[in-house]
C-alpha cells in the first residue's frame, strides 16, 4: 500500500463554446512514503492539473485519490493534510517573511517558541534568515520563491506538493539548495511531489520521475532508467541534455540476428540472442526502425562512423560535438576537449550494445545494455 495512490484519474475541462480539453487521461500512479517524485513535461502536458487535483484545487473528473489509505478526492483542500508551494509564490503582502512562514503553522497550535524555532531553522536552510523581517514586495523574485518553499516545508503534512519550486532561484544557489532540500526531505521521511519542466531539476531532486505528455503518463522511473532505457520514442526524444540521437535504419535479417543500417558507414549487427520473441518478430516484419543512441555513449576519435563536424562546443566540463552523418545530425558528449573544427571529418564509435530500437508504434523493443 503506497503513501499516495492515484487510480485511473481523468481530468476534462469543459467550457462553453470550446471543445472539451482532456488534460489528464487514466493516470495511475503510486508514491511510497519518503519518496520524492517529479512530474516532468512541457507546458500543457497535464502535470500541473495532476498536482492541483491532489491538492484539491481541481475536482477529479473520474478516478480516485487516496492518501495514507483514505480517500481524499472529495475533501476540501484544507482537510487533505497536504502542504503546497505555489509557482506564483502567493505570499501574503501585508505580512513579513517571518509571519508568512509562521502563518502556515497556525493550525498546528504550537507554542510561540516552537514556532519561531521552526521558522528560523527552515529559513536558515533556504538562506532567508537575514530577510525574515522584510516584506515580500521588497525582496527579489528568487527570495520570494525561497520564502514560498519555506512556508510549505515548515508544516507537518502527509504530503508536500511543490509547483516549479526552484525555477527562479539564483543559479549559484540552486545546486546547494537542491542538496539541502533533498537531505531535509530524506531526513524527515517527507513524501513530496513536485512539478517541473526542467529536467536538470527533476533528476537532481527526484527519486523517480513521471514523464507526461498530452495528459498521458509516458514512463514512471528513475532518472537513470529514463535516460538509458526509455520506454518509447517520446521519452527518448525528450529526456537528456541533449536527448538521444534518433536515426531511421533499414532492417535486414543476418543469420540468427539482424543488420541495421543507415548508409554504408553506419551499420550494426544485432545478435538474435539479446532479443526477446516479440522484438525478433517486429524486426523480421518491418523494413525500417527508429534507433536511438545516447550522446554520452558515443566515443569520439576512432570508430567506424565518419562524421562531418558542424560544431564543437566546450562547456567547461564537457564537449558537445555535433556532426552530419548519412543525412542525420549526430551529437556526441564527451568529458574532454578535442581539436576538431567545423568541416573536419571525425570518427565516432557506436557500439551495437548501446542501441535502443523502437518498433513502428514508438515503443522500445530492445533497450541498450547498461554498464
Amino acid at each position: 500500500m503506497g503513501m499516495l495512490e492515484l487510480r485511473s484519474i481523468d481530468k476534462v475541462y469543459r467550457s462553453r463554446g470550446r471543445p472539451a480539453v482532456h488534460a489528464v487521461r487514466s493516470l495511475d500512479m503510486a508514491v511510497e512514503k519518503g519518496e520524492i517524485v517529479a512530474l516532468l513535461g512541457s507546458s500543457g502536458c497535464g502535470k500541473t492539473s495532476t498536482l492541483r487535483m491532489i491538492a484539491g484545487f481541481e475536482s477529479v473528473t473520474a478516478g480516485s485519490i487516496a492518501l495514507r489509505g483514505r480517500r481524499i478526492d472529495e475533501l476540501p483542500p484544507a482537510r487533505r493534510k497536504v502542504a503546497m508551494a505555489f509557482e506564483g509564490y502567493s505570499l501574503y503582502p501585508p505580512l513579513t517573511v517571518r509571519e508568512n512562514i509562521a502563518f502556515a503553522l497556525k493550525s498546528q497550535q504550537l507554542s510561540r517558541s516552537e514556532v519561531s524555532r521552526r521558522v528560523e531553522a527552515i529559513a536558515r536552510l533556504v538562506e532567508i534568515d537575514d530577510i525574515l523581517e522584510s516584506y515580500p514586495r521588497v525582496i527579489s523574485g528568487g527570495q520570494q520563491q525561497r520564502v514560498s518553499l519555506a512556508r510549505a516545508l515548515v508544516r507537518d503534512a502527509d504530503l508536500y506538493l511543490l509547483d516549479e519550486p526552484m525555477g527562479q532561484l539564483e543559479p549559484q544557489l540552486r545546486a546547494v539548495l537542491r542538496g539541502r532540500i533533498k537531505s531535509l526531505l530524506a531526513e524527515r521521511e517527507m513524501t513530496a511531489i513536485f512539478v517541473t519542466h526542467d529536467q536538470t531539476e527533476a533528476s537532481a531532486l527526484a527519486d523517480r520521475i513521471v514523464v507526461m505528455e498530452d495528459g498521458v503518463l509516458q514512463q514512471f522511473a528513475s532518472e537513470k532508467e529514463l535516460k538509458e532505457r526509455p520506454a518509447n520514442l517520446f521519452v527518448a526524444s525528450f529526456i537528456g541534455e541533449p536527448p538521444m540521437n534518433l536515426l531511421e535504419m533499414e532492417v535486414k535479417q543476418a543469420g540468427s540476428g539482424f543488420r541495421l543500417s543507415a548508409g554504408p558507414d553506419v551499420a550494426f549487427d544485432i545478435s538474435g540472442d539479446g532479443l526477446d520473441q516479440a522484438a525478433r518478430g517486429v524486426l523480421a516484419a518491418v523494413p525500417r526502425v527508429q534507433v536511438g543512441i545516447r550522446p554520452q555513449r558515443i566515443g569520439v576519435g576512432e570508430g567506424a562512423v565518419r562524421v562531418r563536424i558542424g560544431s564543437n562546443q566546450w562547456l567547461g566540463d564537457q564537449s558537445h560535438i555535433a556532426g552530419e552523418c548519412a543525412g542525420y545530425l549526430l551529437i556526441a558528449v564527451i568529458p574532454n576537449r578535442i581539436a576538431a573544427r567545423p568541416g573536419d571529418v571525425v570518427q565516432f564509435a557506436i557500439a551495437p550494445r548501446h542501441l535502443n530500437i523502437f518498433g513502428p508504434d514508438g515503443v522500445c523493443i530492445r533497450h541498450a545494455e547498461v554498464s
Binding site: P171, G179, K182, S183, H197, T200, D317
Partner: protein
C-alpha cells in the same frame, strides 16, 4: 579594422551607473557574448549601441565611424529581441523583408528565401506571428536581423523564451549562422553555458563594468575575480577563506582540518587572507583519510548533467559541492568521505579586492 568599437562608454540613470566606462571591440565575423547577472547593465549597453539611448560619455564606432547621435535606422544594425518583437500585423515574410532596404523585387524575395531556408522557416512564411510557435517566432526574428547583412548584429538573450530542447538546437546552429555575414556580433545572455557554446570571447558584465573579457576557455580556467569564478560553472565554485602560512619553504593553508599545499614560498605576499576556490569537478572523493584530505559527510546526492553532485558538510560546518562521474564511487547520503584536490586545481583570489592572484609564477616555482 574593427567592426564595432565601444570606447569608454558610460551611462547613468538617476544615481545608478549602469555603464561605467565600458570599452570593447568586436571584429567582423567575431561573436562576443555579454554575460552577467540580471541588472548588470547588459541590456542598456545593447540599447546604447542600437540607438535607443545615447551614452553620457564615450564613443561607439561601427566600421570606423562614430554612430553616437545617429538615428537607429542609419546605424547598419540587425537586432533580435528577447520578446521577439515581431510585427503582429505582418506575415513572417513581410517581417523578414522589413529588414531589407529594398523590400520588393526579385532580389529581396531571393534573400528572404535564402535566409528562411537556413533557419528552416520556409514553410511558415505566409503566417502571421500569432500562428507561429515560440521557436518559429524566434527564428523569424533572427531571420529579420540577419537578412540585411548588417555590420553589427545585436542579440538580446534571444533564446530566453524558447524551450530547453529548442534552445539546445539553436545553440548548435547559431554560431555558424551568425558568422555567415561577417558581422560583428554582440550576444547577450544570462546562461554561462550558452555564452561558452556560442561565443569566441565572453565579456563578463557586472554592476556596469566589464570584469573580464576573454575566451571561454580562459575565463573558465582563469577567472579574473571571485565574482567571475562564481558566475561560471554549475554547480558553482567552492570557496574557502584561508590565511596561507610557510613551512620549509612551501606555502600551505588549512581548510577544515586539512593541510593543503599551495606552492613555493616566494609566490604569495605574506599573511594576507585569500579566497581559495576549487571547482566541484576538480574535487576528488575517497574513503581513505590523510593529512591532506578534508573529512566530510555526504548530505545529499543530486544527479546533474550526466554527473552526480554531492552536497558535503565539512568539519568546519561549511558546505561544499563535488561533481563526479556517476560511476566513480558508490555512495549514499550520510556516508563519511574524504575530499582532496590537486594543487593545479586551486584558484586564489585576494580576500579584499576579490581579484585573481596569478598562479603562473607559483607553478614555475613549484
Amino acid at each position: 579594422m574593427a567592426g564595432l568599437e565601444i570606447k569608454s562608454v558610460s551611462k547613468t540613470f538617476g544615481t545608478v551607473r549602469t555603464a561605467d566606462s565600458l570599452s570593447l571591440s568586436v571584429e567582423p565575423g567575431e561573436i562576443v557574448a555579454v554575460f552577467g547577472p540580471s541588472g548588470g547593465g547588459k541590456t542598456v549597453l545593447l540599447r546604447m549601441i542600437a540607438g535607443m539611448f545615447e551614452p553620457d560619455e564615450g564613443d561607439i564606432l561601427i566600421g570606423g565611424r562614430s554612430i553616437v547621435g545617429a538615428a537607429p535606422e542609419r546605424r547598419s544594425i540587425g537586432m533580435a529581441f528577447q520578446n521577439f518583437a515581431l510585427f503582429p500585423h505582418m506575415t513572417a515574410r513581410d517581417n523578414i523583408a522589413s529588414g531589407l532596404r529594398k523590400k520588393r523585387g526579385a532580389d529581396a524575395a531571393a534573400r528572404v528565401q535564402t535566409i528562411s531556408r537556413l533557419l528552416k522557416i520556409e514553410h511558415v512564411l505566409g503566417h502571421v506571428p500569432r500562428e507561429l510557435s515560440n521557436g518559429q517566432k524566434q527564428r523569424t526574428a533572427l531571420a529579420r536581423a540577419l537578412v540585411g547583412n548588417p555590420e553589427v548584429l545585436l542579440l538580446d538573450d534571444p533564446l530566453r523564451n524558447v524551450d530547453a530542447k529548442l534552445r539546445y538546437e539553436m545553440r548548435l546552429e547559431l554560431p555558424n549562422l551568425l558568422r555567415r555575414g561577417e558581422a560583428a556580433v554582440l550576444y547577450v545572455t544570462q546562461d554561462y553555458r550558452e555564452a561558452m557554446a556560442i561565443a569566441d570571447r565572453i565579456a563578463v558584465l557586472t554592476a556596469g563594468r566589464f570584469e573580464q573579457v576573454a575566451s571561454p576557455e580562459e575565463i573558465y580556467a582563469r577567472p579574473a575575480s571571485v565574482a567571475v569564478a562564481r558566475l561560471f560553472g554549475d554547480p558553482s565554485i567552492n570557496l574557502a577563506e584561508i590565511v596561507p602560512f610557510v613551512e620549509h619553504g612551501t606555502v600551505f593553508a588549512t581548510i577544515s582540518g586539512a593541510r593543503v599545499l599551495l606552492g613555493a614560498a616566494d609566490a604569495l605576499p605574506g599573511d594576507r587572507p585569500y579566497w581559495l576556490g576549487v571547482r566541484p569537478e576538480d574535487l576528488g572523493i575517497s574513503l581513505l583519510g590523510g593529512g591532506d584530505a578534508m573529512p566530510a559527510r555526504v548530505l545529499a546526492i543530486t544527479p546533474m548533467h550526466e554527473k552526480v553532485v554531492l552536497l558535503l558538510r565539512l568539519e568546519d560546518g561549511k558546505e561544499w559541492l563535488a561533481s563526479l562521474r556517476p560511476d566513480a564511487l558508490k555512495l549514499a547520503a550520510e556516508d563519511s568521505v574524504f575530499v582532496r584536490f590537486a594543487q593545479e586545481a586551486v584558484q586564489l583570489f585576494d580576500r579584499e579586492t576579490g581579484l585573481r592572484v596569478s598562479l603562473s609564477h607559483r607553478r614555475q616555482a613549484a
